[in-house]
Amino acid sequence: MPETPASIRIAAAGCVTPFGNASATHAALLRGECALHALPVRGREGGDAVPLALLPGRDLDETAPPSWMAAVGALVEGLPSGDWGTPSRPVFVTGSNFGVGGLYALRRTGDPAFGVWGAPPTCTEELRRALGWGPNVSILSLACVSAHLGLLEATRLIHAGLAEEALVLSFDFLSPFVTGGFHALKILNSGFPAPYREGATGAIGLGDGAAYAVLSRDRGDWRLEGQSVFNEMHHFTSNRADGSGFSKCLDSVAGSTRGRKVWFKGHGTGTLDAGRMELDAAAKAFPEAPVVGWKGSLGHTLGSCGLVEMAVAIESIRTGSAPGTIGAGGAAMGPGVALAHFPTGPFDGVVCASNAFGGAHACLLLSHA
């Protein structure tokens, strides 16, 4: 595993979910609200009702241009002004699906307007032009750890002296292609997600989400340390049964937490095996850390989840209160799962973790600088 880069500062961060911006999302999670609703898996074509969380006013079905463009535009309006997309201030655009629903819409309708949105390079180019960025825009995609990968690469670039600051944007908006795919894999069904809850069956929900972070070597109120991305290279859709993949990633950040008290923001989609393995690994690496997962409310925002949930973690530290695990009521998989919200004051920071298809794992330590 490559050496973990030195710490980096977060000069600005934000997110948008069905609840609104980071502050509104954090407040909704504190109230225990759920953004997920039972909606037809194939949008206007119907199908089984599955738990989805869409931005207000947005339909699942694709449009050209995509209905989520306005939300991304509004999100980055809050960015510190700067010449983004230049060599000294590059942009990393990360996500799992980009506008892939456009390919399905193109095939269904034959309308070429969908085509440009269907592939990451052309989708990102449309976004770059719409947002007025320069040409230094890189695309990174590693399934549900895409955002972490963007943060890590931006950090390395800054520490190598190749950029003054960097913007990482991460987004994943649902479409019938994406929801249909997860439904076909039998992991998105009528059940609502209950992260870290013991049971006979697991279920996930999917949600819209986008977030950004501006990274800087020495400017900003928040610090990232111990960033790690690791791929256990075991199988496309399953992890090593001994959970060693989860542990290998968390062990790399455990060094940064030595002597410090942390809480743990887990990936926790609601699947059973991965939930158990993640909890076991977290308990070994951070024995005293309360564990929370928010996908029981927000749904899994796929490639953007690492950055969306990091933005909520920032709000948690800023306001002094971390939302508990939503949807897990009942018997939790382990004693470390925090079902209720708790004060973040006694803690030095939070370890934020994400996991992905293909056995990819990622984590970071977030603290107030």
Binding site: D48, A184, L185, K186, I187, N189, S190, G191, A200, T201, G202, A203, H235, F236, T237, S238, T271, L272
Partner: protein, 91 residues
Amino acid sequence: MPDPLLARLKQLIVETLHLEDIAPSDIPDDEPLVGGGLSLDSIDALELVVRLEKEFGIKISSSEEAKSALSSVGALASFIRQRADPSRIGA
């Protein structure tokens, strides 16, 4: 008397997963299908589930349900008998 549903399922498994070196009669009734001697993985299981749903008109809604149904050919036959319309199972 041999169970015709078991024989049909074994044939379906070999065909669906293109198991070239395995004859249907080689598949034991009670051996795990995934993680057993056939070396099937979760992708194979998914492919099998999709075929079974089409063949018998049943619905397997979660990965856990699939795992339980595919715990052996015998278990799969019981699962199908419980879920499928008898007319889809045949004699």
